[in-house]
Symmetry: C2
Subunit: 163 residues, 2 copies
DNA sequence: ACATTCTGTTGTATCATACAACTAGATGGT
DNA sequence: ACCATCTAGTTGTATGATACAACAGAATGT
């Protein structure tokens, strides 16, 4: 195992693995919508995401959300409206800038988020039940590493997460 | 490292890891649509997926596709129609069952797939460029394992991939 | 002060999707 | 052989998420 073919074996392995990653990430993505809809019918993937982000940020405005998720501001505006109607989000004018609105998660919003987290976690636990702990830890680390390579700060650009 | 706290440490590690996996899988999913649209504008995520599946299966019918991707048959029907119109897919009647149609990827379809694969791979390679080969291989294996835990046979059920 | 820029809303179009109704072909029981 | 039932796929229709464009109101810079 130390002849000339090492180089090509190495690059073949890389190529195979990275193709597999591409394929599997796509597969993962493809089924997400239906699954999410089934798991918590009243909290769509988008609204759930928005709620989580506002919660994590301890309040933010619509423009932040749009930038972060590569969504048009009109889309965010409508999704936020829905969350306001549902009482899961509240807003108050930004004292520093009267154009902007500061969004905050309500008590009901936190409850909904907690409920969603529980059922989601139950599902993941079910799927990951027969994994060894060390595999779980390593897989989590890889996913984190992978996601951290996202062009987060700059413009999301072509080819963000999936392909 | 062999006292009573081992048990709780172990379960804590499991819980932390599985929460991280849940979180990261969701993060992965969120940005997918916009990214996919940008990466290859003429081949949407769905049509790309369908094309790939047909190619992998070396011919299959619409029902298989619907089951595999948790899509309604009407959705698949329309997406397949689009691919037929684009000339990327062809179909012929199944000799064994005159209700069914056997779908096959055309030459143009393979070209489109190859082109998409190139740009996609370029993006992934860019993101995975500083990963060691063994990490790539392990990550790919974990993703495959994770995706294989899908409730493939039975009804897709609540909570398939993401949450 | 006025032009420009920014936040957010609303109008409109598109697209993927689901559900329901339907057609045509297959299958099984009597 | 016949009818009931099941299955593959298409089409009609509605919904929901999205983008783009036009806009209003507020902030900012020259």
């Amino acid at each position: 195992m130390s002849d000339v073919s090492d180089v090509s074996e190495e690059s073949l392995a890389r190529e195979t693995a990275s193709q597999a990653i591409a394929r599997e990430v796509i597969a993962l993505t493809r089924r997400a919508r239906a699954a999410a809809a089934q798991l918590h019918p009243e909290l769509s993937l988008v609204t759930h995401t928005i709620l989580t982000h506002v919660s994590d940020q301890r309040g933010c405005n619509a423009t932040d959300l749009a930038a972060h998720y590569m969504l048009d501001k009109s889309t965010v505006s409508r999704q936020v409206s829905a969350l306001l109607r549902m009482g899961l989000l509240a807003r108050r004018p930004d004292p520093r800038d009267h154009r902007a609105q500061i969004l905050e998660v309500t008590e009901a919003g936190y409850s909904a988020l907690a409920a969603a987290a529980r059922s989601r976690q139950a599902m993941f636990d079910d799927r990951l039940g027969d994994w060894g702990t060390s595999d779980l830890v390593r897989f989590a680390a890889y996913l984190e590493r992978y996601n951290r390579t996202l062009p987060r700060g700059g413009r999301p650009a072509a080819g963000d997460t999936v392909a």
